[in-house]
Point group: C2
Chain length 179, copies 2
């Protein structure tokens, strides 16, 4: 008899037929768990008065630190749609996406981040969603740099500041040495 405990997923590493690298294959059912890098979509969100939207993380990792509204792109979604959904989920914020600000690649955690420059359309109606403990709109000079959650938040805010007067530009990529 196979008990429910026997049936918990149990993966071993092997190279499937016709493949050229090791994958995780379930010992029980043969399911191949193809792991591909995941796409994070998010935005540097600017209100009409130039203030920037930050969200205080209510969840790990980096709970209590400030971040941009961002998260995993879902299947069937265009990246801009995903960035708008994340802002809605985390801050009840309605965005107008302006353009792609940056593409960051974080191979260590297998993420590619697509970060947009966006305009906040409902600044008087934003409120924290379940993954946010708090929100704020801050002018550039008041960004809490030491309390930002991730390096790419720092990079994206700097990229926004450098390019804020520009209409067309190549998207920023990882700063020198930045992984």
């Amino acid at each position: 008899m196979v008990t429910s405990e026997d049936m918990t997923p149990s993966f071993s590493r092997k190279i499937p037929d016709g493949d050229d690298r090791e994958r995780s294959v379930c010992r029980h059912c043969g399911f191949i768990d193809y792991q591909n890098p995941r796409i994070v979509v998010g935005s540097v969100v600017v209100a009409g008065d130039g203030r920037l939207l930050l969200c205080k993380r209510a969840i790990e990792p980096r709970k209590g630190f400030w971040t941009l509204p961002a998260g995993y792109l879902e299947t069937g979604e265009a990246p801009e749609e995903g960035a708008m959904r994340e802002a809605r989920e985390e801050a009840n914020a309605e965005l107008k996406i302006d353009r792609l600000l940056a593409i960051y690649s974080i191979p260590r955690i297998s993420q590619v981040q697509l970060l947009y420059r966006a305009e906040l359309l409902n600044k008087d109606k934003i409120s924290p969603g379940p993954e946010s403990a708090d929100l704020k709109l801050v002018p550039w000079r008041d960004i809490p740099w030491p309390e930002l959650a991730f390096p790419s938040v720092v990079w994206a805010l700097n990229a926004w500041n450098e390019s804020k007067e520009e209409a067309a530009f190549a998207p920023y990529t990882n700063p020198q040495g930045g992984l």
Copy 2:
């Protein structure tokens, strides 16, 4: 007794605890198969004489049609590294990546494509890899438009042609109405 047939993966759709949308969950072992969009990386590859590299597909889909060297980004890879690997696998081509040419989103098949402009470094030494039936280097006027494999190949070649004299530009995105 559970036979091997009983153990083939069998997924049903349900919303896992703490999640907000349906996922495929294995009836046998409870494994949750999070499906995220996948990242395709590839290049418009140009030889020093201005000719463009095309690869004839040896595999389905669109076997026998011409495409750009491109494929799925693997875990732990930066997108530029993935684009270089794909050119090596499909054409034994060594590239110098120049810049991001285009980002195309194909939500219907949950793909985000990052296509680079790249220089071919070893034009006299290219040869078809296992997924290519043939290769060719063609001048712009000889591109076999009706025999290109995918709409995004057409889009990327046009984007390359439009921007080939430009050093810095915003990456192209899906043409109007293009999904």
